[in-house]
Each structure stands twice: as C-alpha cells, then as structure tokens.
C-alpha cells in the first residue's frame, strides 16, 4: 500500500501543511504509544485486539463522543444502526488521494501469513454500498482504515500479519459509528472476547468490506450467509446438529438464523419456542437403545397460552401462563442450547414427560400410577398411555368438553372398542343425541386409576357398576327403564353367585354370567325395537355362549329381570303364593298344637301340686289320667 505517487490534483498548499502537521502528530503519537500498552477500548467494551498504534483519543473531527452516541442510540434497538455522523465534510475529499491510488490498482500484497490482499478496490462498488454517496453523511476511507495517521500519504506498510488481523482492525472502527454492535450478534462477540476461537468472523466477514450492503440485501440469503461458516455438517453437538437438520432449509421468508440467534434479550420460553416452533412434527429420533422413534418436536407456543395452562384463575388467584421450563425443568437448568435428552427408549421418554405432570398433579398422578396403563408401561409395553397421550402435551384442554371428547380420546388407541361403543345404545345416544346421562368410557373404567377390566375383581364388581345407573330411580324414570334389573339379577342364580364371590373372594374368577356377558360389553343394544321372538332367538344365542347344549326352551328359564307375577311367570308366582300360605298355615297348626300341649302339661302340673299341698294323693283321684301330669319334665 501507498507506493503510488500522489495524485497531481491534490492541492499542494494543503498537502504541505498537512504533511507538517501530521509529521508532528505522528512523532507525538509514536512517543505516546511507546508508553501505551493497550489502546483505550473504543466503547468501553473488553479488549478487542486493537493495534498498539491506535491513538488513545480518536480524532475529534471524525468521532462523536461515544457517550453521546450511546444516548442517541437506544440499546434496545434491534438492528445495527447508523448513529454517528462523521464530520468529514470539513475537509473536502480527504480520501481523494486514497482513491487515486487504490481505485485502479490490480496489485496484490502478500501478507506474512501468505495470504493475498487486493490492493485495488472497485470504486463503483463502494459508491453503491451503504457507505457510498447514499450515505447520510460522507464516509471517508480513513473512517474505517484507522488509525488515520497511518494512512497519510504516502503511508507505510500495513503491519497486519494475517488477513484476519487486518479485518479485525477495520472491524474495530465499525464500532465508532455502530454502537449497537454491543447487542449485535452477541455470540460472535462473546466468543471473540473470550478469545477461544481464532477463526471468529469480523464485521466485514458478514457485512462485506467496500461492498458493505444494506441489511435487506444481506438478508436475501441470510441462512446461506451464516452457513458459509456454520455448515450443519460441522456441528459437533448431536442435538444441535439434529435440530438444525430439522429446520434449516424449511425456514419461511420471515425466519432466519437470527430468529433464534437473536440479538434481543429473550425469555427462556421464547428461546424454546424459537427452535421448537420450527422443529418437525414427526422427527425420526434414534434412541439410546437403537430404536428409532418418531417424535413430535414441534411446539406451537400459542398452544400453551390457549390451554388450561395459559393465564388462568384458580380459587381467585390469577396465574400467568406456564413457562416451558416449569414443566421441562431439566431443560431450564441447562439453559439454551439444552443438552440432548439421553432417552433410552420410549418407556423412558414416557416417564420423563410424566414426572413433569405429577409434580403439580400429584393426586391424579398417584391414581394413574395404580392404573392399567402404568402397569402395562412398567411391564415394558411401550404403547401404554401416559398423561400426555390422553390430555395432550401443550394444547391441554378440558378433557370432558364436549363430553364426546372423553370417548374420542380413548378411541385414539382403543379403536375397536370405540367403534363398538359408538354403535351401542349408550354411544349412539351420546353421539347422536348428545345425551348427558349415558356412560362414556371413564364412567365404567375410571379416568386415572383404570383397573384392568380382565381381572376377576373387575368382573365381579361390574354388576354394581351397571347398577349405579340402572338402579337410580330418577335417572331410569326418564327412559322408562325398570330399576329392578339389578335386584332381579342378584336374586337369580347368576347374580347370587357373583354377589357371593364378590363378597367372599373378590379376586377369584367365576364363570357365572355378569351383566355384560348377556348384554355385551361395549356393543350393548337396546331391546326396545325387537319383537318377542327376536328377543328369544337372541337370548338363545346368548345363553349358548355358556350353555352350549341349551335348546330353545332354555332361555325362558331366566326370568328376564321380571319379578314373578300373574302376568310374568305365573306358575312361579303361584308356587310362591302357595308356600306363603302353606308355611304359615302348617307352622301355625304346629305351634297351636304345641302350645296346647304345653298348656295341658303345665296346668296338670299346677293342679297336681295344689292337690299335693292339700294333702291329697293324686292317685286317689280316679279321674286323673295315668302318666299325663306326672311325666312333665320328670
């Protein structure tokens, strides 16, 4: 640099004056620099490596006071802002000389590192850049290529050892005007200050040098821009790589790297939402045990707001929406980016999610822990439902609004049963007429503490379950259904046996019929539409399930929940009536005779004693019959 002769157009008077002045200034500065170890940090930030020659005090005509700049440029500003107006206008075309030499050069300079620097610049490119003639104020070469003194014609060799050194030095002068650099791209700057990475980009690596672009221009391919250094393939941490594989390339026009890697202060939930709002809904994830699971990593932050976990009032206390880390606390502890979930398999994934719920919902959590789903999960059934499988994860809504939602939820896994239920007398009333009385899945099976319906205990207690509704006078009156069904069942052979089993050995299986053996489990049908013959025919098929040798006479041995009467099963009624008359009659006769016998014996005894008192011998009375009185009690 600086070998070219000065342009003949340069005013000599000024040149001479400036030469004198600058020579003096240089001498003074060099002397000062000997005692200076480090330059004053431009904006109070930590040591950005700045060449030792840099003047401690920036030239007053080109730099506005940094404190004033900070005030004029609020720290909250979102984008790098142009805040300083170089006062270069006082001197006309101070970089005329620079342009003369560098404007048409094709020379290159080889740095000590071996890298090449282009000496020449394309003035047209500079002109069209944001620092060109469209700038709010004129920007001169030495506004960026500082220290200014070094570049006074004919300037000395640039001391940069590497291209990076050269660019770092120039980047330092960006901060003269662009104070929001403090916030801008904190990742790069933090790493730069920490000095852990020598290959960090400088401002010009991203924004360009002489072709420095408008931000919009730069953002035409912002992702590609970043990826020129941050190639996904080079990412080391597996979950970081995984995440970027998921969404890089699928970003919509309004999203880019900075959507997540923002220069703004973000809440933790925002940070979570940044990535998880973009992640795939069905991402293939290899678990530790080698299985590949399809996971929904996509979270719509809005879902949580809309869910029961959004802003809510409980017992008069207003609670704000849950933050992500209130549930995903293990993530919150580690901050962004979180470490990978080391999940062995789906069972562990399930547990890792469930503990989040149980932290607050302890009671239902404990209930669920006793239920069949937890039991199956403990046995290793990976498909057993966890909290989120039924309630959802982020968009958790009232599970019973509308009421069909309950059965729909169960139906997502239990489809066969669900299909049967929908066509049953209960299900069709629920879905067809929005009937609030018919049972949904949870009314029989429970919501959290779901018992295994295959156990003897469940079987034995099932009639009482049915009886809860079918014994309710008020409820059944609405549908003209007899409430006698439970009692008539219990008083018959099947119900009697089942009741006794339930009472005496609730865990012992019995094959005696319970309600659902005859009426069906989920496909319970109404009999109201069927004719008597149809009912009998159906009944025979039902009976033959357990009584394979039964013929068509057999079904009527079951009184079909009727109480015997003259109308239904009259012979049973009459036999009952016969005995209800016979038993009191016979017993009454017996007791009458026994009573009379006792009376005779006691009265005889009494008479005999009285006579004995009178000194009379009983055997002197010829009328007293032999043996009768004397035998009583002796």
């Amino acid at each position: 640099m600086g070998d070219n002769p000065i342009s003949p157009q340069a005013p000599r008077r000024f040149a001479l004056l400036r030469a004198l002045l600058l020579t003096a200034a240089c001498a003074a500065l060099i002397g000062f620099a000997v005692f200076s170890i480090e330059a004053r940090p431009a904006l109070g930030q930590d040591a950005t490596p700045i060449p030792a020659e840099e003047p401690a005090v920036a030239p007053s005509q080109t730099l506005t006071d940094s404190a004033a700049l900070t005030e004029s440029a609020p720290a909250q500003s979102t984008l790098p802002q142009f805040t300083g107006v170089p006062a270069g206008g006082q001197i006309s075309a101070p970089d005329q000389a620079c342009r003369l030499c560098h404007g048409d050069s094709t020379d290159t300079k080889t740095l000590p590192s071996g890298e090449l620097l282009q000496v020449g610049i394309d003035l047209a490119v500079l002109e069209n850049s944001v620092h060109g003639s469209h700038a709010i104020a004129a920007i001169f070469c030495t506004d960026c290529h500082q220290p200014r003194q070094r570049y006074q014609f004919p300037h000395a060799e640039n001391p940069a050892q590497t291209r990076h050194d050269f660019q770092t030095e120039i980047a330092a002068s960006c901060q003269s005007c662009h104070v929001s650099i403090e916030l801008h791209n904190p990742g790069h700057l933090q790493a730069q200050r920490a000095g852990t990475n020598e290959n960090l980009p400088t401002c010009t690596d991203c924004h360009g040098g002489h072709d420095v672009g408008a931000v919009a221009t730069m953002y035409s391919d912002p992702v590609g821009y970043c990826q020129s250094c941050h190639a996904i393939a080079d990412m080391e941490e597996p979950q970081v790589k995984f995440a970027h594989e998921q969404f890089v390339g699928k970003l919509s026009a309004d999203k880019n790297c900075q959507t997540c890697h923002s220069d703004q202060v973000q809440t933790q939930s925002q940070q979570c939402a940044n990535c998880h709002g973009l992640l795939d809904t069905s991402a293939e994830r290899t678990m530790e045990d080698g299985t590949i699971e399809t996971l929904n990593l996509n979270v719509n932050a809005h879902d949580v707001i809309m869910s029961v976990h959004g802003d809510r009032m409980i017992d008069g206390v207003q609670y704000p929406a849950l933050e992500c880390t209130e549930c995903h606390s293990d993530m919150g502890e580690n901050g962004f980016p979180h470490p990978p979930d080391l999940l062995v398999n789906r069972a562990q994934l399930r547990t890792s999610v469930e503990v989040n719920c149980v932290r607050c919902h302890e009671d239902v959590g404990n209930q669920a822990a006793d239920g069949i789903h937890a039991e199956r999960a403990a046995e290793g059934e990976l498909n057993a439902a966890s909290c989120a499988d039924c309630h959802g994860s982020h968009l958790i809504l009232q599970p019973n609004v509308p009421r069909t939602r309950i059965s729909d939820t169960c139906g997502t896994c239990h489809e066969d049963v669900y299909t049967q239920y929908r066509t049953s007398v209960h299900g069709s009333a629920l879905y067809g007429r929005n009937n609030p009385d018919v049972p949904v899945c949870t009314d029989c099976h429970g919501a959290h503490q779901i018992d295994d319906p295959g156990t003897a205990a469940f079987r034995l207690s099932s009639p009482e379950m049915c009886g809860d509704c079918h014994g309710d006078e008020e409820l059944m009156a609405k549908y003209d259904i007899s409430t006698n069904v439970f009692q008539s069942y219990v008083s018959d052979f099947h119900g009697q046996t089942v009741t006794l089993f339930e009472h005496n050995s609730p865990n012992e299986p019995t094959n005696k019929a319970v309600c659902y053996d005859c009426h069906g489990v989920h496909d319970i049908q109404s009999i109201s539409d069927a004719s008597e013959e149809e009912i009998q025919a159906r009944l025979l098929i039902t009976c033959q399930k357990c009584h394979p040798n039964a013929n068509e006479n057999f079904p009527s041995s079951w009184m079909s929940h009727y109480e015997p009467s003259l109308e239904h099963y009259p012979i049973v009624y009459l036999v009952s009536l016969f005995y209800k008359i016979l038993i009191p009659t016979v017993l009454g006769g017996f007791l009458l005779f026994i009573g009379s016998d006792i009376f005779r014996r006691q009265s005889d005894r009494f008479l005999r004693r009285r006579e004995a008192k009178r000194g009379k011998k009983s055997d002197t009375n010829p009328k007293n019959d032999a043996g009768d009185a004397g035998d009583v009690g002796e």
Binding site: R459, V490, H522, I594, D597
Partner: protein, 322 residues
C-alpha cells in the same frame, strides 16, 4: 310271666284297671323276653336307626348349605357361606348330601317293600281317618274339653305327619333339585319356566322342612321328653302308655309281631322280592349317579367378555383431539 306281670303292675300303677285287666289274659305274652315286657319295647331295629342317622346327617348338611344360598343377600349368610368354603364348595357339598339322601330314600323304599311284602308287617305308618280324630281329640284334651287323651297306635298322628311331610318334602326336593341340577336336560322336556318354578319351590319347601323340624320334631322328641328310642331302638313302657296305648296293648297281646307266620311262604316271597327289588334298587342307584352327573350345564371357563381387540397400537404422541 309272673315277674313281668308284677313289674308291669308296678310301672303302670296309674293305668285304667280295665286296660290292666286285659294283660293277664293275653294268650301270646310269652312271645317277648321278660326284659322287653318289663320296661322297654323294641321300636326301631338297627337298620331303621341307621337310616335315621343318615337322614339326620344329610338333612342337616343340606339345610346348612342350602338355606344360606336361599338368603345369600343377608350378610350373616354370606359370612356363613364364606366360612364354609365359598358358594361353589357348598354347592358341591349340597349335592353330595343330596345324593346321599336320594340313595337313602331309594333304600328306604326297597326296605319298606320288603317289610310289607315279605315280612307282612302291619302298615302302622299309613295315615287314616283315625289320625284326624286323634288330632282333634288331642287338641280337645289339651284344652281340657275332653277328659281322655286319644288312644293311638304304634305311630301317632304327630309322627305320621312328620313322616309323610318328610316323604313329601324329600320328593319335592328331589324333583326340583334335579331340575336345578340339570336345567338343560329338564328344558329338553319341559318349558324353561319350570326352572324358576323349581327354584322357588325348592327354596320354600326347604324353609318349610327346616321350620317343621325346628318346631314339630324338636318339641315332640326333644323338648316334651327326650325320646331316645330312635337311637337306642327301645321305647319305655311308660312312653308307650302315654302315646301308643293301642300298640302297647297289641304288643302285650303279642299281636304286634309281623303277620307272616308261615316261614315257607315268607322264604318264597323273599325269593321273588329280593332279586327284583335288589335289581331295581341297584338300577336306581346307578341311574341316580347317571342323572346327577351326565349333564354339562355350562362351560367351565369364564365366557369371553369382548371380541374387540383391546389396544390398537398408537403413534408415539397421538394427534391431539381438538
């Protein structure tokens, strides 16, 4: 003879002199041993006593295992069933006891046939108009309407009532019990509604039987006086005088013995009866076991509750239900 006579006089000192006067004139009084005439008269030979014990045991077991089933909704009965080993256990016990009673009944019929046809005993248990008269007389006597108690035979109306009640009851219980035991076979021949009829009758007849035993039988043979004759076989003259005067007279006259006097004829009848009755009895025994075990009423497994597959595998995080 003289000793017996004098003792008899002592014991029956209060007897009507007219009755007493008959005794010395009995032509066949020598038919008894002196002891029998003395105090105790044979009432139940050993086979009868064995039958009675079998009946006691089976009846008690049947009642104990049956009534709790009848009243199984009452918690104490449930506890009783539990204590006895559960409903399925007591059902088996009930059926075993029932089988015993059925076999005892068949045996009883065979023995009765032998006694009547071969030994030509008097049919002292047959009910008759006399029994009605006796019952009325007894009531009248007890209420001090009539002066004298009825003069009754070997089995008085109270005993006949009990015996025939047992016959009737056992018959009803066997028929209805068989129906309940084999409902499939029953409904092949009869309408299905016969089963609840049988169930109703079986239970109520049992109540009647048990209550009868607890009142009638309990009073007459335990409370009024403990009548040990069913266990010892012998009844005292005193008891005979009180309730079986006519029989005592026949006994003292020597007319209480079986009527079969001709041993040759008896042997001939036995040769006819024993093979036939033996074969029929044996056949009935076998038939009983056959009928009580031949039906497979129900499957022995728990019926399948649902034909729907319980779980249709789901995606890891199922789509949320909106």
């Amino acid at each position: 003879m003289t000793v017996a006579e004098s003792r008899s006089t002592e014991v029956t000192g209060k007897r009507d002199p007219a009755d007493l006067a008959l005794a010395p004139t009995l032509p066949n009084a020598v038919a008894h041993s002196e002891e029998e005439l003395d105090e105790h008269i044979l009432r139940f030979p050993i086979p009868d006593r064995i039958e009675h014990i079998i009946t006691i045991v089976s009846f008690t077991v049947l009642a104990t295992t049956g009534l709790p089933q009848m009243y199984s909704t009452w918690p104490p009965m449930q506890a009783a069933i539990g204590a006895m080993g559960g409903i399925e256990t007591i059902r088996i016990v009930h059926r075993v006891a029932a089988s015993v009673l059925i076999l005892a009944s068949i045996w009883h019929i065979a023995v009765m046939g032998y006694k009547i046809y071969v030994k030509r005993v008097r049919m002292t248990m047959l009910p008759g108009w006399d029994d009605v008269v006796h019952a009325v007389q007894a009531l009248g006597y007890n209420f001090r309407i009539t002066r004298n108690p009825p003069r009754m035979g070997k089995f008085n109306f109270m005993e006949k009532a009990e015996y025939w009640a047992l016959v009737w009851g056992t018959g009803v219980m066997m028929v209805t019990g068989y129906m309940l035991w084999n409902p499939i076979a029953t409904t092949r021949l009869l309408p299905g509604s016969i089963i609840p009829v049988a169930r109703m009758a079986h239970g109520l007849e049992a109540v009647l039987a048990v209550l009868s035993i607890l009142t009638w039988h309990m009073y007459h043979v335990h409370l009024k006086r403990f009548n040990k004759s069913m266990f010892t076989g012998y009844i005292s003259r005193e008891e005979m005088e009180e309730e079986h005067q006519l029989e005592l007279e026949l006994h003292d006259e020597g007319k209480a013995r079986p009527m079969a006097r001709n041993k040759e004829n008896k042997r001939r009848r036995a040769r006819i009866y024993v093979p036939i009755a033996g074969a029929i009895t044996a056949l009935l025994f076998v038939a009983t076991f056959y009928f009580l075990t031949f039906e497979q009423t129900a499957i022995t497994t728990v019926p399948p509750s649902s034909d729907a597959s319980i779980s249709v595998p789901l995606t890891p995080t199922p789509p949320q239900v909106q």
